[in-house]
């Protein structure tokens, strides 16, 4: 590949101490690269450590072994090149929508008078121009996600990390958000690492789909290239023949892991 690598995980292992002497290995030896301008989706069953892997790329978690390189340089501390879209609500509840978006600039020292108009522009581009003065609790779940997207994108990060960002939303809103994301992404093609448990969503959005095995000690067990033409429309692309073929192929691998993951989680519950 000629493009320089935006994110590279090399034999990254993630483990947690469980209070006593036991150690829980979430991810075993993950090798994963995201090229510049590449949209990579990680799919895996519940509890496979895909969010964990994302936190490693963000620098929120230190790998127990192995390394993380961002644009060829080893990552130390937080990943300053990355914007992170969280699964849970992460907006500052005490700030209005526009203040939530502007804060990313204000932190960098941009004067408020300059940050606010730019925040307004971003709110408009996520379709919330008229909601600038609302507090997060006055917005719907989908609207909050839009604000969160604007909050991350206004800082113009080179890498976008997304942890099941549309997970809590209903099916229709998810598709609308997916299209919005693709539109915004098309404008400047950042490197994206997108975690989801929804295979359809992954194929519809991404250039590459990476499959993880069921945890604990999960590994990356598959890597598919999605060559569906861009720009894509999430609604249309699902009707594509190639989409179906790819979906069947990947699901064949994923299905076993989902069943394993399900068995694991029920076992764990019984143990508790």
């Amino acid at each position: 590949m000629t493009m320089p690598t935006a994110v590279a995980l090399e034999n990254a292992k993630v483990a947690f101490r469980l209070g006593d002497d036991r150690v829980y290995t979430a991810v075993e030896q993950a090798n994963l690269t995201v090229g510049q301008g590449e949209f990579v989706a990680i799919v895996g069953p519940t509890g496979c450590g895909k969010s964990t892997l994302l936190n490693v790329a963000a620098g929120l978690l230190k790998p127990a072994a192995g390394g993380v390189e961002i644009f060829g340089r080893p990552l130390a501390g937080l990943n300053r090149d990355a914007g992170y879209l969280f699964q849970a609500d992460a907006l500052f509840p005490w700030k209005t929508a526009i203040d939530n978006v502007a804060i990313g600039l204000e932190i960098k020292g941009t004067p408020r008078s300059e940050a606010l108009p730019r925040a307004q522009k971003w709110l408009t581009s996520v379709g919330l121009g008229a909601f600038a003065g609302r507090y997060p609790h006055m917005l719907s779940g989908g609207q909050r996600k839009r604000v969160a997207l604007a909050q991350v994108l206004i800082r113009d990060p080179k890498i976008l990390l997304m942890d099941e960002p549309f997970g809590p939303l209903d099916a229709q809103t998810r598709q609308v958000m997916g299209n919005l994301l693709l539109d915004l992404w098309n404008a400047d093609r950042k490197a994206v690492l997108f975690v989801t448990h929804d295979l359809e969503e992954a194929i519809a959005l991404a250039d590459r789909v990476v499959i993880m095995s069921a945890g604990p000690s999960s590994r990356i067990i598959g890597d598919w290239r999605v060559s569906l033409p861009r720009p894509r429309d999430i609604f249309e692309v699902r009707l594509d023949k190639e989409f179906h073929a790819l979906h069947r192929e990947i699901w064949g691998v994923l299905k076993d892991e989902v069943m394993k993951g399900y068995a694991q989680s029920t076992l764990a519950k019984e143990a508790v």
Partner: protein
């Protein structure tokens, strides 16, 4: 139920209550007055006493003193609670060391401190302020401590990923969270500031609502005691209303549980 009906019913309760009180304390039932005036006075006398206080203007001085004490207790107690609460929450070691002592002092019924404060600070307003402070401080302290401790992990991570420094996290995340917890206990802490002031006055002072009630009690002037109680509750309701107004302005960003907003 419409607002008007509700208000009508609320007023009706007051009228029935007062009428019963008046009747039972003046008209004998089966040859016996059920509420002897010596112990229960009657509404007319109580009302007359209140009117007398306000028309002569005596009451303003006492109200002013109690209000001053309450405000001072609230401000000092809150300030201390916010600072210490913040400090403890950010320094777990300090919190762990002081934990048993904080619990010990908080377990102490504050009224027993009143004589000590009277000895140390005299019979003026400061012994009452001190009593109020000990009440307000702990409420604010525990709330701020909790507020800083329980900042959502995700919001905190989001702040970090957006590039906030430790100082910026303090300003944009910890501080607003702590303040919101403090404001959510505003009614309680303001109420306790008044309790501290009045109890302090009652136990020894030369002015204030508590003093007024204590004086009336000293000469078996039951009408005076009741009159003092009514003025006091009206005073607290007014303050509480003020707090509600402040709260609505400061906590606009919070979803209202009771659907007021």
């Amino acid at each position: 139920m419409s607002r008007v009906t509700l208000l009508g019913l609320q007023i009706l309760v007051a009228i029935v209550g007062i009428a019963l009180w008046q009747l039972l304390s003046t008209v004998p039932v089966f040859g016996k007055i059920l509420l002897p005036p010596f112990f229960f006075s009657n509404p007319v006398d109580v009302f007359a006493q209140i009117v007398k206080w306000f028309s002569s203007g005596v009451i303003w001085k006492h109200l002013g003193i109690t209000l001053t004490e309450s405000i001072l207790a609230f401000v000092i107690g809150s300030l201390g609670g916010v600072l210490i609460g913040f400090w403890f929450a950010r320094q777990p070691l300090v919190a762990a060391v002081f934990d048993p002592y904080v619990k010990m002092v908080n377990a102490l019924p504050r009224v027993v401190l009143a004589p000590i404060f009277a000895l140390w600070l005299g019979l003026g307003i400061w012994s009452k302020v001190a009593l109020g402070v000990t009440l307000v401080f702990f409420i604010v302290f525990f709330n701020v401590y909790q507020g800083v401790k329980e900042v959502s992990r995700t919001v905190l991570d989001n702040g970090r990923m957006l590039g906030m420094s430790e100082r910026q996290l303090m300003r944009h995340v910890y501080w607003p969270s702590a303040l919101s917890w403090m404001f959510s206990s505003l009614h309680t802490s303001v109420g306790f500031a008044v309790v501290g002031a009045v109890v302090g006055e009652y136990l020894g002072s030369a002015a204030g609502l508590g003093y007024l009630i204590q004086q009336a009690e000293g000469i078996f002037d039951v009408a005076g005691v009741f009159a003092g109680m009514f003025v006091l509750s009206a005073f607290v309701i007014l303050i509480d209303f003020g707090v509600t107004l402040v709260e609505r302005r400061l906590l606009v960003w919070r979803p209202t549980v009771d659907g007021r907003g």
